[in-house]
Symmetry: C2
Subunit: 738 residues, 2 copies
């Protein structure tokens, strides 16, 4: 893969259109940063007034700028930006950064102006970042097109953000404690270059070892997922998404006008993408610094080395909440620790050196723990005391980890330890306190040990390493195509009045303002049957006599349900377990006729279906998210599904691995596995049902919602039956089929 | 209430036993802090070498120290501490701080030495703090008996900690950003003065407006709960407890030797106590600084005022997770905002002043929002930009809130606003960034506005105010005594071979090494019947004939269950829904005889019970926690209780209010309320059952566990039936009754 943003980071010359000599203006800041932050190519200020700025000749227009010039930064107001972009296109510039706000985030008028940008860019083959962004930084190239005064130090974190303020704020406080960055990409409204482009770019960047992303809207969520999948095969990705709650969604919409999706869809997207979701800016950086320095954790067994029992206990709780745990140290390890720790130290885990350890004690204890085969990672927790400066401990810890990395065997031999080979184990370090902490943090970061102010944040760092270890060890497989489905048949049932197009495999979804319709239960059953889900034989009857005949044909006992025509609007929930209108377990024709008379009213029909065998009732469903597209759902079925709130979601279509994972996450899955002597249910049949519903959603974009509640699951090998299939869809011709 | 620790904070003279002139020693640090940190009474160094230190005369022994001397700080090693405490007792000193470690935290030997301390203290009527602590601080008295170099500034936070390292670390970083404290109490092993004493002391302290507690073991959990209840009637309490997960429990046990209880018990204790639990040191301080400055939030409606849309959106998500929400601003408020905000500002919520607001814009915008009747609290989110120093914004925000507080009507009038009266609304402020932030934070704290580095932490501060608002508005009532119970009858069933003691109301629990026994189902039913729970009529039968006769007497249909003798060990779980050994719905004598033959084996008996009416199956249970005593449990019943993991706990005995709350928290409660047209269940009967089981646990300390699974709940007014009662208990005479 080549870097899609190569020109933005390695232009042979940069023009600043709208450059100003007034040092309080942002347009001066951009010019100043290009000149003073290390960029080695020519910089061309463009301003109709001419003259010179910062010792550079000012050009009256972009047309006059000489070669080489590959990149332009336009720092003009919104109303002048479109024309300036066009001028760049005419000048043959291929990469443009647009700083101005006043576009899509303002609503309809702004969106129109944004569309003009896209039109111009398309016409000239220009790629642009923004509008409404703060520009890009590469600390190695180096280049800095932003107006932010401080350029961050070199580091291994690639930072992508929809929000310029998040870029600025994060750079500021992260830099203050010595956290460096490789690249910063401020996307703004992402009218052209989007998060997916940024992830692809950072995937190719050799200096970027971890990507931290702050995202707001993801209008093409699947593009994000695919780019993230490419990235996480090689580098970890941490994502903070705003707009995951009702209040947050409101704030994002007000801020950006972006379309909001459901949080469950974002979570499903992160699982597919191998991305690590976090909930705050602090967590975003805390996770990224751990991932930037270290190999992933390959196991959950952690040792704590400390001079402070209380904070270590808090850290141990936090480790547990991250899915990690304190390891039992072997007798051998404990004996080694006794040799190197101060007298009286507690050599269990946490290894508590009590009040008086010296920096060397930390270094030697860390060596022993890193050499212990039972330890997967180490958390050092140091609380400064009156006498020993935190900086000395930080240097000792940092040097110990560096020595072990570079020259592990030498020191291990000196301490009488056997080496465990080249595998590098993560170390994180919590040093709490006020004064002196910044120096200690810088010393640790300089030795590639992430520093945290509290034990819980250190545990979050290890948790991120553990999660990425899982992503690397168990990459999510590609969705599996399911066989034997009859897509054309399903489509024909949905559109009986439209000629089917058997060879079209890229159906266009109907417009979202088309009303949603509820398919009658017989048609619903036939649609899922076309996807080879097991459905008991069934049919529709308009009279008691017809119902009895039908029942005789499909076989007793049967269930009879009233079918009333009606349109379902999207805001309505499907109501599983509606009371009334259903007669169960009808054993003969008389019972069917009687039930028809009681249940079905004039103008209605009856849905008659053979009773399914007994089994565990689960729900298999599907929905369509505005950002991430179709999702498959699984949970415990029946009337209680909304009460229990215990369901799992994945993007559709999906793989059998994902289907098994989602089952295992739920109470329904634990019941399926067999509890208290009950035999396990047919997990394979459930997985098959999930895959097939996922394929159905992928194939039929007009279907907005599927609910099979219940899917009745027999014991292993006995299959699963969809007995109540509700399908909501958009019909382009507005007909209602009942 | 008088301050139980008055003498520790206001002694008329202080002796330092073991004072040293070596400035690298802790024993010098204690003396130095007493002398230099403002204490105004006489300080007496005690050291057999005599001479003088820091210009003070040194006494060879505590016996020689002249009056007045009320407090001694003993800074000797553990082996010399007991004798020194005795010498203090002989000298008539009433309050002692013991710094040395080497006691209970070391195990059996240390515990014995700790018992000696208690014995000596009891003999002389001395109260002591420690051992293994860093002493106490009162910034107003002032007095500082610790060796920590920096004394925190004056503030409104009272800090209690089992860990000295947590004290030291927290003081250090909190002080660095201008967070002050009223008192610090380092409890160490709390061999005498415990958390409850500390809470009672801080309840009386006029300078303490919020208490932040770091706790490890709570050996007498109920004493803590009662002291916390007294405190939270007047002041908020935030609690960080270590040892809430398996790894954390391991760390606490290794660190302190303290007994660990279940996390659900701690959570139930916090609910009863009105305490706000947090999970990290940062959260402990974040919550405390919000609670120290402000009145509680009286509603969840928050406005955000910002120059940064992205961080505000993250903050809005975080508000939602705290149970708060962005409010819809009225037309009037929006109009006022348009007048005072810069042109182009978005005056929805978040109120986004975009790139260019000046400090005055923040001040005026904040005024408008605080005056708006629809707003309950405000979060200011400022991301520093190149030009405006964060300190200026901090001062503007702080002054706006101070002016409004002191002189609200004047400024409100100037802005054309109507005042909403004396009610003060909370303001929190997030200013992110590195350089310049400390000055901004100090300026905010000086104006009683809590400062946070990230929007999520600011939201946590508001969340703590909201939770304390709830505690104040809805204090947890005292447990309600239940009437009509027959405790003696229940006790007689548990101990049929022991003469009952009808007038003893303070039974001594049997030793924990007594084996636990499972009561047979008939005896179990009779025990809960003695507490007036509804149980269908039942009995035990040894033969098929007896079973049929019994069934005829109690009425058909009946259920028949096999009863096999056996001891239940504590580690075993009770197994609801065991398969086998049960025959349901037996309609006549023949069916009963046949069932007996099939189900009951030689040497066993049958439990025969009238079938209960149909209804929702819930579980009502109870357990006993080593720290907090009996807990009552509620959840969805049947075989799935462990699979669903959806249960609520409260301390027993409990109030009807608490019982209703715990029901409402669960899926079972939502089902009871009636879903999808199903009629609501008999909530009152469930509440009654919870109260009565709670009373049973309080009355009968030998009962370790009760499970009623299921309790079958009828529709409203129809009651609830306990049909499968399992009671595990300790019998002092080791007999098994079956």
């Amino acid at each position: 893969m080549t870097d899609p943003l190569h020109t933005f980071f390695h232009p042979r010359g940069v023009a600043v259109i709208g450059a100003s000599s007034n040092p309080t203006k942002l347009s001066h800041g951009v010019l100043r940063n290009l000149v003073t932050h290390g960029y080695r190519g020519p910089v061309y200020p463009v301003n109709p007034r001419g003259g010179d700025m910062l010792g550079l000749q000012v050009y009256a227009s972009i047309a006059e700028v000489p070669d080489p010039v590959d990149l332009a930064v336009i720092v003009l107001s919104a109303d002048r930006t479109v024309a300036a972009l066009e001028a760049c296109g005419q000048r043959g510039i291929q990469a443009v950064v647009l700083i101005a706000s006043g576009f899509g985030e303002l609503g309809a008028g702004g969106r129109e102006r944004e569309a003009q940008l896209r039109e111009v860019a398309h016409r000239y083959g220009v790629r642009f970042i923004g509008p409404n962004c703060v520009g890009v930084v590469d600390t190695y190239a180096p280049i800095d097109t932003t107006f932010i005064r401080t350029m961050p130090g070199q580091g291994m974190i690639g930072f992508v953000s929809h929000s310029g303020a998040v870029c600025g704020g994060t750079m500021d406080w992260a830099s203050a404690v010595g956290v460096g960055f490789s690249r910063i990409i401020s996307l703004g409204n992402q009218a052209d270059v989007d998060v997916a482009d940024a992830l692809d770019s950072l995937a190719t960047d050799p200096h970027t070892r971890v990507v931290a992303a702050y995202v707001e809207g993801l209008p093409d969520g699947r593009r994000f997922v695919e780019a993230a999948r490419r990235l996480t095969l090689h580098k970890p990705l941490v994502v903070l998404k705003a707009g995951r709650t009702p209040s947050g969604t409101r704030a994002v919409t007000s801020h950006t006008g972006a379309l909001a999706g459901a949080d469950r869809a974002f979570q499903a997207a992160c699982r597919r993408a191998g991305a690590i979701p976090v909930e705050d800016l602090e967590q975003l950086v805390d996770a990224a610094i751990a991932l930037a320095y270290r190999q992933p954790l390959t196991g959950p067994r952690i040792a704590i080395l400390t001079n402070a029992g209380g904070p270590s206990a808090v850290g141990a709780d936090a480790l547990d909440r991250q899915g990690l745990r304190l390891v039992d140290l072997s007798e051998e390890t404990q004996a080694r620790l006794r040799e190197v720790c101060p007298p009286g130290a507690m050599v269990g885990n946490p290894v508590d050196m009590l009040g008086g350890p010296q920096p060397d004690h930390f270094a030697d204890g860390l060596e022993v723990l890193l050499a212990a085969p039972e330890v997967d990672g180490v958390m050092v927790v140091f609380v400064p005391q009156a006498i020993m400066p935190p900086h000395d401990v930080a240097v000792a810890v940092g040097q110990a980890r560096t020595k072990r990395h570079r020259n592990g065997d030498v020191r291990a031999t000196r301490l009488g330890l056997r080496s465990v080979g080249e595998h590098e184990k993560p170390v994180v370090c919590c040093i709490s306190g006020g004064g002196g902490i910044r120096a200690a943090a810088r010393a640790l970061h300089a030795h590639a040990v992430p520093h945290y102010l509290t034990p819980a944040r250190a545990a979050l760092g290890l948790g991120a390493l553990w999660r990425y270890g899982h992503v690397r060890a168990h990459p999510v497989p590609d969705p599996e195509p399911v066989t034997g489905v009859d897509r054309e048949r399903a489509s024909a049932i949905l559109h009986p009045h439209t000629p089917t197009l058997p060879h079209s495999h890229t159906p266009t979804p109907p417009h979202s303002h088309t009303p949603t319709l509820l398919l009658d239960p017989q048609a619903g059953a036939e649609v899922v049957a076309a996807y080879r889900l097991c459905v008991p034989p069934s049919g529709l009857a308009s009279s008691a006599g017809e119902a009895a005949t039908l029942a005789g044909r499909i076989g007793y006992p049967v269930v009879l349900k009233r079918v009333a025509p009606g349109v379902v609007h999207k805001a309505d929930r499907l109501h599983p377990g509606d009371v009334g209108g259903v007669a169960l377990d009808l054993a003969d024709a008389d019972a069917v006729r009687e039930a028809f008379a009681q249940v079905v009213q004039a103008g209605q029909r009856a849905f008659v279906q053979r009773m399914a065998p007994k089994g565990l009732e689960v729900i298999v469903g599907a929905q369509r998210d505005p950002q991430f597209g179709p999702l498959v759902m699984f949970g415990l079925g029946g009337a209680t599904v909304e009460v229990l709130r215990d369901v799992a979601f994945r993007l559709a279509p999906l793989s059998a691995t994902e289907a098994r994972e989602m089952v295992a996450e739920t109470a329904a899955g634990r019941l399926l596995a067999g509890v208290r002597g009950q035999p396990p249910g047919d997990l394979d049949a459930v997985v098959e049902a999930l895959l097939r519903v996922g394929q159905l959603m992928a194939d039929l974009p007009e279907v907005t919602e599927v609910d099979m509640n219940p899917l009745i699951v027999g014991t292993a090998g006995k299959g699963a039956w969809a007995v109540d299939v509700r399908i909501v869809y958009r019909s382009s011709n507005n007909s209602y089929h009942n």
